[in-house]
């Protein structure tokens, strides 16, 4: 019995705790740094808890650096993108589960294949296209890119959820005199709410974290999204480390909150034939 206990300690708890220390340490360290004054951050010895916790770093990041603007910009871009993504994904998911049509296989293959197109490769041609449309520097360009890059994964995910809504219910509604559209709005959508929320959460994390295109398209600090704000703080001469750590904590809030909701769907969601990292 004692032998067995020891095996469990070595095979389960030691590796589990080691990996969790590795995972949680960077987050702990950012929180720790964000509550320290600049003197304490840069001084010796290094402190593992702030001597006198201060919140001025958060005020600095939020008000002076501009995370108040970045946060609103990110929310705006992400939410508008997610609305488009969800609507288009429902349409695609519905078409793929309720109809047989020519080219369906090709379209499914397309949804899978385009997920492998590296964003870096498309920076220049998309920049040129948006430039001729006078959209460079606007949030609209970012929204269009976000919607497109999140769509393939979200469509496949949504298809899985719509498959779970029994066709019989819709047919029953149509026999009762509903049109197909009414069937969708009154029968399918209400049953699809958990799926919609899950797809929206995946999409929102993706949009919130988008970096490369925002870096390429946005040049006015008033338009920056959160990742660009973070990146710009890093590159600045004479980095304000306390404020940067606070910025990181602010940037974390939305993804972590969404993750807390999503984590029970993660295992099934990510294995639903989708390939998102």
């Amino acid at each position: 019995m004692k032998e067995k206990k020891r095996v469990i300690v070595f095979l389960r708890w030691l590796p589990l705790i080691a990996i969790n220390i590795f995972v949680l340490f960077p987050i702990y360290w950012a929180v720790n740094t964000s509550f320290k004054g600049e003197g304490e951050i840069l001084g010796k010895p290094i402190t593992y808890l702030p001597k006198v916790p201060i919140i001025s770093n958060f005020v600095e990041a939020w008000k002076n650096v501009g995370f108040d603007k970045y946060f609103v910009n990110s929310l705006k871009v992400s939410f508008i993108s997610v609305i488009f993504i969800v609507v288009v994904a429902i349409m695609v998911g519905y078409a793929l589960t309720r109809y047989k049509f020519k080219g369906k296989g090709v379209f499914m293959g397309l949804l899978l294949a385009v997920q492998f197109i590296p964003a870096a490769v498309l920076l220049v041609p998309l920049f040129n296209t948006f430039k001729t449309m006078h959209l460079v520097g606007s949030h609209l360009a970012l929204i269009v890119v976000n919607v497109t890059f999140q769509l393939p994964f979200c469509c496949i995910l949504m298809k899985g959820f719509i498959e779970g809504v029994p066709i019989a219910l819709e047919e029953a509604a149509m026999i009762d005199g509903c049109s197909r559209m009414q069937g969708i709005v009154r029968v399918v959508i209400p049953m699809l709410v958990p799926g919609i929320i899950t797809v929206a959460a995946f999409a929102l994390i993706g949009c919130w974290n988008e970096f490369l295109f925002a870096m390429m398209f946005l040049n006015d600090p008033d338009m920056y999204t959160v990742p660009i704000g973070l990146k710009m703080m890093q590159g600045e001469y004479g980095v304000h480390y306390g404020a940067m750590a606070s910025g990181a904590i602010i940037a974390m809030i939305i993804p972590v909150a969404l993750f807390a909701y999503l984590q029970k769907y993660l295992v099934t969601g990510l294995s639903a034939g989708a390939v998102k990292g």
Binding site: I19, V23, V114, F116, N128, Q263, G277
Partner: protein, 296 residues
């Protein structure tokens, strides 16, 4: 008649917006990359713009920059995918057992999945900093190093440091995928193994690993492509430096786009990396015999 035509058209109308988005924002610009690869295209020197044959490719293949980036890409992808697979497997094996606190630990371990590359870069820049970074402090206290190390500025340590940061963000993907596959395995075969007196290690070697083969092949392939293409974290943490030690092919492409103006040249590098990736994927799928034993 009217009604029949309508039902035939509906699915196409439903997928139309998705096709338009993907066509205009992914496929069309992708084709343009292939076109630009054979052009001189430099907005600051427009008088030189125009068709230039394979000049861009010749230039790439005769300068050292490309080969150096290819080597960094190789090191980057192999170490990332290898380490993420090993650690992801360990996490999945542990979380596949039932014990108190499993849900809590699952949530904790998977949390970096939601973090962006830039955010990860900020977290680790606070740790790796030469003067006040906590890593140097811990290693000095443990007596492992005597002098502070500039983890991100030293050409010997920089790649390893960036690999660790990306590993932090990458373990959950493997852990989640492998865990999902493990939960789909039938319990009977494990019962039988137990009755036959298999050790834990034997069970893993002879049962779990073969059953997970397709999942492992698929996830490593997806991850190889994903890591090959990934830019965010390296761009924010090192910008590809020092002296190109962390400039992967994708970083080279992104830097061409974001900082220099040599778009034709950048596009030609993109085209070459496409072919490299495609060849790697085909060889990998063939060599691993993916999907041959089961009809997935």
């Amino acid at each position: 008649m009217q009604k029949k035509q309508k039902t035939v058209l509906t699915p196409y109308l439903l997928i139309l917006p998705a096709v338009l988005f993907i066509g205009c924002v992914m496929i069309y610009p992708l084709c343009k990359v292939f076109y630009l690869a054979f052009q001189n295209y430099n907005p600051t020197m427009p008088f030189l713009n125009g068709f230039c044959g394979i000049d861009n490719f010749v230039k790439i293949l005769t300068t050292g920059e490309f080969y150096s980036a290819l080597l960094v890409s190789l090191k980057w992808v192999v170490s990332e995918v290898g380490l993420q697979l090993v650690f992801g497997m360990i996490v999945a094996l542990i979380l596949n057992q039932s014990f108190r606190g499993r849900g809590f630990f699952r949530a904790m371990t998977f949390v970096p999945w939601a973090m962006s590359g830039v955010l990860t870069a900020v977290l680790f820049s606070l740790i790796f900093n030469e003067n006040f970074g906590v890593l140097n402090d811990i290693l000095r206290k443990l007596g492992i190093i005597k002098e502070n190390v500039a983890w991100l500025a030293n050409s010997k340590t920089v790649l390893g440091s960036v690999v660790v940061a990306e590993l932090w963000r990458g373990i959950p993907f493997f852990a989640i995928s492998l865990l999902a596959a493990m939960q789909g395995l039938s319990q009977d075969i494990y019962e039988a193994a137990k009755v036959d007196g298999c050790t834990r290690f034997q069970t893993f070697r002879k049962i779990t690993l073969p059953l997970l083969k397709n999942t492992i092949v698929l996830t490593t392939l997806l991850r190889t492509i994903w890591e090959f293409n990934s830019v965010d974290l390296i761009y924010s943490l090192t910008g590809g430096g020092p002296v190109g030690k962390t400039t992967t092919l994708s970083m080279l492409i992104a830097n061409q786009a974001l900082t220099t103006n040599n778009y034709g040249y950048g596009s030609a590098i993109s085209v070459i990396s496409f072919f490299i990736l495609a060849i790697v994927a085909v060889i990998y799928i063939k060599a691993s015999g993916f999907g041959k034993e089961s009809d997935e």
